[in-house]
């Protein structure tokens, strides 16, 4: 009997303490001055991130609607608002960049010196300035994103790690980095459905490096290029974008994907526009040869993706991958192009890529074999 | 004196270069049953295996009709020499008739297809040994005694002149032990087979052998007829038994 009474007394005491604490908390919050949101970054195509600026100089970055980062000016104390966000302190001088598509954007911002470590090795880079930085030692190779050299990252004092969505496959790496005190920002530009949406992420990096103006200027230039495209003939030209994998299947992008959009903006029509696989987050689909044959045989232009498929120089090499391709209209009319390695690494130049495709479709490139990103296979 | 079919010349048998039994001189004559006895580890199985070429002789040679076994082609040897081994072969989904038919392999063509003559021989042999009723039964399903007889029928289908058996009756019950040994004696007498067998059951060896070879301490201890070998004194010495205990086994 006395035991039960004692239990009730303990419970009551606990309840009282809890109430007091909650009261204190809300009292504290009520006491501190609320920071005001002064601005919201204007984004035209990007949908995967947003930036809110506060009057105390901090900026709240929200990625994918769920990841929140609070960027503080140099020497500032962490404010009372957005306590759940990951704290980033300016200046960010030693970045560990594990997202290769972001590298080019940093280059365009002239902020390459801020990048200390990269997860792609020297001989896999097609951007000469990056290769030079790695050679001279101003940038270091940290190992693959899935197995980084933690000791190096720590000893170099990296203050931020920018990862691509591949890190979702290795969550333990992300946890380890956070544990070691290196904040992890997962950039989701690959989820942007508009090609310029990917480029617009330069504005985010502009905020992180304090080069907002350069970022805005660059993006304006891209928009200008897009608006300067030539018109294509009324019958929209059909374009297929693919590569043949080692199992003999054709790997193509889904409809509504950024590749499909690039072709569309260039004035063409992506032959697999109707291919939707919403059940998976992958942007590509492995097609059986007969489906690929049926869908792409009459395409006017074929673009081979050499980033994963391997670089091709001649038409004969393409046909050695699959002899069925000799039937294709584009092969017979000499309209087979190959997208080089730089197409994916020079992510800032989506507008340029669209311009290239536009040149092919509008007939401007009929005499040319080499464009900025594509080369014709003969 | 009939000419020996299978004989040895200064044969040493063993494994990996080390001899287990040395200086073996034996001969098996047609129509005779030669038993090999001795304590465990004396080398009975090693000798048998060397005779059927499963092991290489350490020294010396095995002769078939005076010719060295190692010089003769395998098929020719198979037409003269057949074996029934210890252990239980476990072939999947094989009928008894198929097992017996394997004995005709030294006589069939490239693909091993049996001719009418071969099939007849198989049927005859199965009748002779008394396993005709199991022809269609699964080899793995029959009893141990029946299995030994089927394997004997298989060996006989090779039309051998020398039959070598490694402990043929060890796993059989009394009735089947007697049956099989009686059958062997009949075959030896009627068909002039030379039979060499290793055996544990001394009383049966005494009754069914024509000659006996005793192995002990790495050599042939004694060879002779059953009357000489199966005296209580010698058996006690051969098997290192206490005085007076040999009587139980004879």
């Amino acid at each position: 009997m006395s035991g039960r009474v004692r239990q009730v007394h303990c419970l009551a005491a606990l309840l009282l303490c809890a109430l007091l604490l909650i009261g204190c908390g809300s009292a504290l919050e009520a006491a501190a001055p609320q920071a005001q949101v002064t601005g919201h970054m204007e984004l035209i195509y990007a949908e995967q991130f947003s930036v809110d600026c506060y009057d105390d100089g901090s900026a709240l970055i929200t990625i994918g609607g769920t990841d929140r980062y609070l960027l503080l000016p140099e020497g500032a104390e962490p404010p009372a608002h957005d306590r759940d966000a990951v704290l980033l302190r300016k200046p960010l001088q030693k970045l560990y960049l594990a997202a290769s598509s972001a590298m080019d954007l940093f280059l365009q911002l002239d902020a390459l010196d801020r990048v200390r470590m990269t997860s792609t090795s020297e001989n896999n880079w097609a951007i000469p300035q990056v290769v030079q930085a790695l050679e001279s030692g101003s940038m270091l190779y940290a190992g693959k994103y899935s197995a980084p050299d933690f000791e190096r990252i720590l000893s170099e004092g990296c203050d931020l790690s920018i990862q691509s969505t591949m890190i979702y496959h290795s969550p333990e790496i992300r946890e380890k980095l956070t544990e070691l005190g290196v904040p992890v920002l997962v950039e989701r530009s690959s989820y942007e459905s508009h090609p310029l949406g990917r480029v617009e992420w330069i504005k985010l990096y502009g905020v992180l490096t304090g080069r907002e103006e350069e970022a805005a200027r660059f993006f304006e230039e891209q928009l200008r290029q897009l608006n300067a495209l030539q018109t294509v003939e009324a019958e929209a030209k059909d374009v297929a974008f693919f590569y043949i994998n080692s199992a003999g299947m054709a790997v193509v992008h889904k409809g509504g994907d950024y590749v499909a959009k690039m072709i569309e903006l260039a004035g063409g029509r992506y032959v697999f526009e109707d291919l939707r696989r919403d059940d998976s987050a992958l942007s590509t689909v492995n097609l059986q040869m007969e489906s690929f044959y049926a869908g792409a045989r009459d395409a006017d232009v074929l673009i081979y993706n050499s980033a994963i498929g391997g670089n091709l120089d001649t038409l004969a090499q393409l046909l050695s991958k699959s002899e069925l391709l000799s039937d294709f209209k584009a092969v017979q009319s000499g309209n087979v192009w190959c997208a080089g390695q730089n197409m994916f690494q020079e992510s800032s130049a989506s507008a340029g890529m669209i311009a290239d495709i536009n040149a092919i479709l509008s007939g401007q490139a009929s005499e040319l074999d080499e464009l900025r990103f594509l080369h014709r296979l003969r | 004196m009939q000419q020996a079919c299978l004989s040895t010349r200064d044969l040493s048998v063993g494994y990996a270069g080390r001899a287990v039994v040395e200086n073996i001189e034996l001969s098996a004559a047609p129509g005779e049953i030669l038993s090999v006895i001795g304590p465990n580890g004396a080398g009975k199985t090693t000798l048998i295996r060397t005779l059927i070429r499963q092991l290489e002789p350490i020294r010396g040679s095995v002769l078939l009709d005076g010719q060295e076994l190692s010089c003769l082609p395998g098929t020719q040897i198979a037409r003269s020499l057949a074996a029934v081994l210890t252990g239980r072969p476990e072939p999947e989904s094989m009928r008894c008739e198929e097992v017996v038919s394997l004995g005709r392999i030294p006589y069939t063509g490239r693909l091993g297809i049996l001719s009418a003559g071969d099939k007849q021989k198989v049927a005859q042999t199965m009748a002779l040994v008394g396993v005709s009723e199991f022809a269609d039964a699964d080899f793995e399903q029959i009893s141990d005694g029946q299995r030994q007889r089927v394997l004997l029928a298989r060996a006989l289908c090779q039309e051998p002149r020398v039959l070598i058996l490694d402990e043929p009756v060890s796993y059989l019950d009394l009735k089947h032990k007697l049956e099989l040994l009686r059958l062997l004696r009949r075959l030896a007498r009627e068909q002039g087979l030379a039979v060499i067998m290793s055996i544990h059951e001394l009383s049966l060896a005494r009754r069914f052998s024509d000659r006996v070879l005793c192995l002990k301490d790495g050599r042939v201890d004694r060879t002779g007829g059953p009357e000489e070998i199966f005296s209580p004194d010698y058996i006690e010495r051969l098997f290192s038994l206490d005085a007076g205990s040999a009587e139980i086994f004879l």
């Binding site: 291919l275 | 059927i52 070429r53 198979a78």
Partner: protein, 343 residues
């Protein structure tokens, strides 16, 4: 005693033949390209019809299904040979490490080619895979020459497989993502890249090996009672070992080179065939295994191609789904039989 076995054999062969024809037909008419029956008839009979449809049926589906039949049969025969040789029911065409050797050389050539900007054509990949398989086989033959025990030889083969896999993993550690994806795709196995040229090359190799395997039925039959009995019946054991390892490896290598490693066909089908025919006689079971493997593989390829069209499942996953239960069932029934016999 009259036995009804020849009648059973004839019936089973007829059954297999009918199943094969049915599946050949089904595979010809179904596919992801959505060709209607009218178009199909027109295309097949050559009376006009859509040229695309004709090309698809003639140059994509036909070589693919013929390859599935041929290579499925080859795997089956190889599996039966090794199961008999090792007297082990779980032995399969890849127990001697043939596919691991192939995967290693494929990984090496992928890395080498990407690093030097050289293009790895499909013919190149086939040749390297075959070479790797033959390398593994060579090592096994060396071991077979020195080892007497069959159990040791199988362990040797498995170890060679593991070593090759380990080296492949090391190579992969230094490879970049695209190569890893490429290698992974290759090792899933697929009939997708089959063309007439490749089919011809595969057919020449596989059929030659199959004919020689058939000629080996007599010593195989002797071997079913064990090595000792086989030798006493006049079989040249040394030569037989070499011939059997060589032939089964060439068959397995052929499949691995042209379609990647495809599991379970070689293990499950021989068991099914032996059950069906109630016999193990190589002279009968070898051709039966070929037919059975062809039927099984055609069936699995049909499922792989149509279930999630226009993409396809990896053939190995489908064969595993259908093959693994067979193997488990077989092992359980063996146990039951053993228990019944024992005592």
């Amino acid at each position: 005693m009259k036995s009804n076995h020849p009648r059973r054999f004839a019936l089973c062969f007829a059954l297999l033949g009918a199943a094969l024809l049915l599946l050949l037909l089904l595979n010809t008419v179904t596919g992801s390209a959505g060709i209607g029956p009218a178009q199909l008839l027109a295309a097949l009979s050559g009376r006009g019809g859509d040229e695309t449809a004709l090309r698809i049926v003639r140059d994509i589906r036909l070589p693919r299904l013929l390859a599935a039949a041929l290579l499925g049969g080859a795997l089956s025969v190889s599996g039966f040979q090794l199961q008999t040789f090792f007297a082990n029911p779980i032995a399969g065409p890849f127990v001697l490490g043939v596919s691991s050797g192939a995967k290693l050389t494929v990984a090496l050539s992928m890395v080498f080619c990407l690093a030097n900007g050289v293009l790895l054509s499909s013919a190149g990949m086939i040749l390297t895979a075959f070479a790797g398989a033959m390398l593994s086989m060579g090592l096994v033959l060396l071991a077979a020459g020195r080892l007497r025990s069959m159990a040791l030889l199988i362990v040797c083969g498995v170890m060679i497989g593991y070593i090759c896999s380990a080296v492949t993993d090391i190579v992969v550690t230094f490879a970049d993502d695209s190569n890893i994806v490429n290698l992974h795709n290759w090792s899933l196995g697929s009939f997708s890249g089959m063309g007439w040229g490749q089919l011809r090359a595969a057919a020449v190799t596989a059929l030659a090996a199959l004919v020689f395997s058939f000629l080996l039925s007599k010593p195989m039959n002797a071997y079913q009672l064990g090595e000792a009995y086989a030798r006493s019946m006049g079989v040249d054991i040394r030569r037989f070992r070499v011939e059997l390892i060589l032939l089964s490896s060439v068959l397995a290598a052929c499949v691995t080179a042209f379609a990647g490693p495809i599991s379970f066909v070689g293990i499950a089908v021989p068991h099914l065939i032996r059950r069906l025919f109630r016999s193990s006689r190589p002279l009968v079971i070898l051709p039966a295994c070929f037919l059975g493997g062809a039927v099984f593989c055609l069936f699995c390829d049909l499922i792989a191609r149509t279930l999630f069209a226009p993409t396809e499942l990896s053939i190995s996953s489908v064969t595993a789904v259908f093959g693994a239960p067979v193997v488990i069932g077989m092992l359980l029934s063996r146990q039951k039989k053993r228990r019944q016999q024992g005592g």
